[in-house]
């Protein structure tokens, strides 16, 4: 047992130790305040230097604790989930590496260090999405995720360049103190915040760079839970929250941020309505929920965004792991239309999944209700239109969640596979997460009775109305290509780039450059061919030529006015 699972156990223990550290740091921050741990002087050029340290303050320790906590649970879950995979050790290696980079991301005391973690988690995401490397389409999905993230990262790094040029530093402390002297609406500031936000759209799967996230579901389910739901994709939220001092001074950019968030929330929710793959539904749901958080940040409300990020981490990880348990039980099947009636076979999974689903749809008293409520309130202050749009998205959320639950757990069994409940090593983390997803909201028990009542009535209505359609009849309304941004990107960006590559390769390189260079060669060799006839081989003729040449040369020199 231990021999078989040594890698998972060691990896989980490491993360658990990290979790304990994070608790200690959390405790210390809340008793004595923020502190820093210097690491190294990274590099110094022309008066600009980057020193790298770890910054523990309430924001970073919150992230630290959440990441390591969720990561620990998912590591434990993975021991069961990956039990039969031959490359378990490599899997846990990548997973640990991911946690390392994520910790670097949230704890760094400067933007460049954050960028290291930012790209590092992207790398681990690549490795884990393409973990089953025998399947070429998984590899393509991994590559897509990495490249699209890199587009965002380019924005991030350009933002860092402007920041370097404006403030001469990327240390949080220096930038945030210098920014106070910058006048509001300063163009550099707008540029910095906007470019950093481009980075966020990549990493946190916002419009227009969100299409990699659904494809990223190619990875093992624990990866989707950890990286593509709970932690990595929230890095963007963390980054905007961290640099809120900058964003506050650039209200135009905040408006953009909010509307991008709202639009993403809408698009994600609409697409999720028509998916057939359980993980794709959850992925688009993640996109949509990230849109909520970004919208909240755009409305200037950092706390609700972070709050929703934490509760989302719990309930979405729970949902993914629950889905993973279902997939595991169904022997790898991901199509919801081939499931059905699983609540009898997998009662424990069903109950925790239901908790997660209710939390996601924002049902009181689960955590999702409180955090979403906080976001809606904050957005209401900023823009009523955005507020009503998000209310609509919440309704859509409830619909697709209900559809998913009904299709998977209710109705009749639609395939021959006999599902079985997962082992304890997988269900215990599920239960822990379910408790967290249910109870995390009480951290912030600001109740508004209208909201509470309204939500309960609305949800009851939705679940009641969708029950016959999906639980009883299981209407097949799948449309996996629904609102496919991928097709558009492929037609407008990928294909033209590849085509121009081939064009340049065959036309510019071969036809123009080679022919120009070759043309010179032809010219010279043609000249040589014509001069060759002078090379008659007759000595007498050569003597004549020598004489004539010397004569011409000498006369030329005599006449030439030197």
């Amino acid at each position: 047992m231990i021999k078989k699972h040594w890698a998972g156990i060691v990896a989980s223990l490491v993360v658990f130790l990290l979790f304990l550290t994070s608790l200690a740091a959390f405790n210390r921050v809340h008793t004595t305040g923020a502190f820093e741990v210097p690491l190294l002087n990274w590099f110094a050029v022309s008066g600009m230097s980057v020193t790298w340290g770890l910054l523990f303050d309430s924001l970073s320790t919150l992230m630290f604790t959440m990441i390591t906590g969720v990561a620990f649970l998912i590591h434990v879950y993975s021991i069961g989930y990956m039990a039969d995979d031959d490359n378990r050790a490599r899997f846990f290696w990548y997973l640990n590496l991911f946690v390392f980079f994520m910790v670097i991301l949230v704890l760094s005391d400067n933007f460049l260090g954050m960028f290291v973690g930012w790209e590092g988690v992207g790398l681990c995401s690549y490795l884990l999405i393409g973990f089953w490397s025998n399947n070429r389409s998984y590899l393509t999905a991994a590559k897509k995720a990495f490249v699209m993230n890199r587009i965002g990262d380019l924005g991030f790094i350009l933002g860092l360049l402007v920041m370097f040029l404006t403030f001469g530093s990327v240390q949080f402390s220096e930038v945030f103190s210098l920014v106070q002297q910058v006048p509001a609406n300063d163009i550099a500031l707008i540029l910095i915040t906007f470019l950093l936000f481009v980075g966020v759209t990549g990493k946190s799967a916002q419009l227009p760079l969100f299409t990699w996230l659904p494809d990223a579901m190619a990875g093992p389910t624990p990866v989707s839970a950890l990286i593509h739901a709970a932690t990595m994709v929230t890095a963007g939220i963390y980054m905007i929250a961290r640099s809120s001092a900058l964003y506050e001074l650039a209200p135009q950019v905040l408006t953009i941020v909010m509307w991008v968030g709202v639009a993403t929330a809408v698009v994600g929710a609409v697409i999720a309505l028509r998916q057939s793959d359980i993980k794709k539904v959850l992925a688009y749901s993640t996109v949509s929920q990230l849109g909520f958080m970004v919208a909240s940040l755009g409305a200037g409300a950092t706390f609700p965004a972070l709050f929703h990020m934490v509760t989302h981490a719990f309930f979405k990880a729970l949902l993914f792991l629950g889905a993973g348990s279902v997939i595991h039980g169904m022997g790898g099947e991901q199509d919801m239309y081939k499931m059905g009636g699983l609540k009898r076979d997998m009662p424990l999974t069903f109950s925790v999944f239901l908790v997660g689903a209710l939390a996601l749809s924002g049902c009181p008293p689960f955590s999702g209700f409180f955090s979403k409520d906080a976001i809606l309130l904050a957005v209401h202050h900023a823009s009523p239109i955005a507020f009503y749009t998000l209310i609509g998205v919440s309704i859509l959320t409830a619909i697709y969640v209900a559809r998913m639950v009904f299709l998977v757990f209710f109705g009749s069994q639609r395939s021959d596979t006999h599902a079985h409940e997962s082992p304890a090593v997988m269900t215990v983390p599920l239960v822990v997460l379910a408790v967290l997803a249910a109870g995390a909201g009480f951290y912030h028990p600001e109740l508004e009775l209208i909201m509470l009542g309204g939500t309960v009535i609305l949800l009851a209505l939705i679940w009641g109305l969708t029950y016959p359609r999906y639980a009883v009849k299981a209407v097949d309304d799948r449309c996996d290509q629904f609102l496919s941004f991928d097709l558009v990107y492929h037609a407008l960006i990928v294909t033209p780039i590849l085509a121009s590559g081939r064009l340049i390769h065959s036309f510019f390189d071969r036809d123009i450059i080679d022919n120009t260079a070759g043309g010179f060669g032809e010219l010279i060799s043609g000249l040589g061919q014509s001069l060759r006839s002078l090379h008659s081989g007759s000595i007498g003729f050569y003597l004549w030529m020598i004489t004539a040449y010397v004569a011409v040369f000498l006369i030329g020199f005599s006449i030439w006015p030197f």
Partner: protein, 424 residues
């Protein structure tokens, strides 16, 4: 005097290799050279045992110190992993001597002689050990490079006629008229642009890299292409700073287009070596862009990128398709990461500084060159995945290759975390 010894050591080594015909001897010689180089650079005071003949025409600058250490280590790596015959290794050592000469030369005459001295062994390497249509490729290589050399020679003759001296110090103190500076700039651009190579002078490079045996490709990409950027740094920037400054936006525009051009072409290329070669053009152009930004940070970035690209591309070529063991795939992936400039690799420091330098000129250039980073990631990952899912080749990595690869990849990461070694 010590530098004279430095330059002649590889030549003696080449003779020895031809006489003894022993691989161990070749490795020993290049190890000795590497130690000697390190001694010269780290502890110049230890060299007092040499007769103190002062040779003003040879000297070490901080930049050339970095480059000769890089050269000696790379040649050691190449010889350790080379499967080619002793004639090849002798030529390799000959090129090493010429490279040392170029990096130490402080006069135009010596610079030019050593510059040309690299071409002859390189030509014979292609002709003797290449594959495919090697004679044609060798001649094309030689013609392209000779055009560059001719431009260089013309510039040097002009400089000699105007200063009556070959010493760099005399050249650099001279101020030339604006119109002449422009011509000097054009000549030097051709000379160094072909070597680097920059688009549109790049067409000799992919074929040559593909044709050469692996060690040759490592040498050409890792070391010989660095001559171009070294020339830009040592000759062009001090000589015609005003003309460069005046025409900076034009040059940067051309180079930026070249960066994108090469990256896009790399997407259309097939075959391991050709893809890496084409990406290498993009990297080289970007490196030049950093230098041509004419900002201290950009130039710094260029220098870091010399080391980064040299290590990265050598590791990549060493990783040409093999039996897909876990070690092979892992090390190939790490080399790919080094090549796409992931943070914590030295390539990241270089690219970041280059972009910073460019953004001091204009953010547009940084943006355009940055796009090539995205495209580069695309190309390199496609390449990696093609290797990952291709059919097996029967050749395994040998122990020596594994050692060298581990050393190269660790250097990439160690320098990425502690880059101050390669920052001047």
């Amino acid at each position: 005097m010590a530098l004279l010894v430095l330059i002649s050591l590889p030549l003696l080594g080449a003779l020895g290799v031809l006489v003894f015909k022993s691989r161990l001897f070749a490795v020993a010689v290049s190890t000795i050279i590497a130690f000697f180089t390190a001694t010269i650079v780290m502890r110049p005071d230890l060299l007092m045992m040499f007769p103190s003949i002062s040779l003003p025409s040879l000297a070490l600058t901080p930049l050339s110190s970095i480059l000769i250490i890089l050269t000696s280590l790379m040649v050691l790596a190449i010889i350790m992993t080379s499967e080619d015959s002793f004639g090849f290794i002798a030529l390799l050592l000959g090129i090493q001597a010429a490279l040392f000469g170029v990096f130490c030369a402080r006069t135009g005459l010596l610079f030019y002689i050593f510059w040309e001295m690299t071409l002859i062994p390189a030509f014979f390497m292609i002709v003797g050990w290449g594959s495919g249509d090697k004679l044609k490729i060798a001649i094309r290589f030689l013609l392209y490079n000779l055009v560059g050399s001719f431009a260089l020679l013309a510039v040097f003759i002009y400089l000699f006629l105007n200063t009556h001296s070959f010493a760099f110090s005399d050249w650099m103190t001279m101020v030339f008229p604006q119109s002449h500076q422009l011509w000097l700039l054009v000549g030097l651009m051709i000379a160094f642009g072909i070597k680097l190579p920059l688009v549109p002078f790049h067409r000799w490079q992919p074929d040559t890299y593909e044709c050469l045996p692996r060690s040759g490709t490592m040498l050409f990409s890792g070391l010989l292409s660095k001559l171009g950027i070294y020339g830009i740094l040592v000759v062009m920037v001090p000589l015609v700073p005003h003309a460069m400054l005046i025409h900076r936006s034009l040059i940067l525009t051309i180079i930026s287009i070249g960066v994108i051009y090469a990256s896009v072409v790399a997407l259309a290329e097939t075959g391991f070596k050709r893809v890496v070669a084409t990406v290498s053009i993009a990297h080289g152009s970007m490196l030049a862009a950093g230098v041509f930004s004419l900002t201290p940070i950009g130039i710094q970035g260029g220098i870091v990128q010399i080391v980064a690209h040299s290590l990265g591309v050598t590791a990549l070529f060493l990783c040409e398709p093999r039996v897909r063991s876990r070690f092979y795939l892992g090390i190939l992936f790490l080399s790919v990461l080094g090549s796409i400039g992931l943070p914590l690799t030295v390539g990241f420091i270089g690219e970041f500084l280059i972009l910073l330098g460019l953004s001091q000129v204009s953010l547009i250039y940084a943006l355009v060159c940055g796009v090539s980073i995205v495209l580069g990631a695309w190309v390199m990952l496609t390449l990696y995945q093609n290797v990952q899912s291709s059919s097996d080749t029967p050749i395994r990595l040998t122990d020596d290759e594994e050692t060298v690869l581990i050393a190269l990849v660790s250097a990439i990461f160690i320098l990425g975390i502690f880059p101050s070694v390669v920052l001047l």
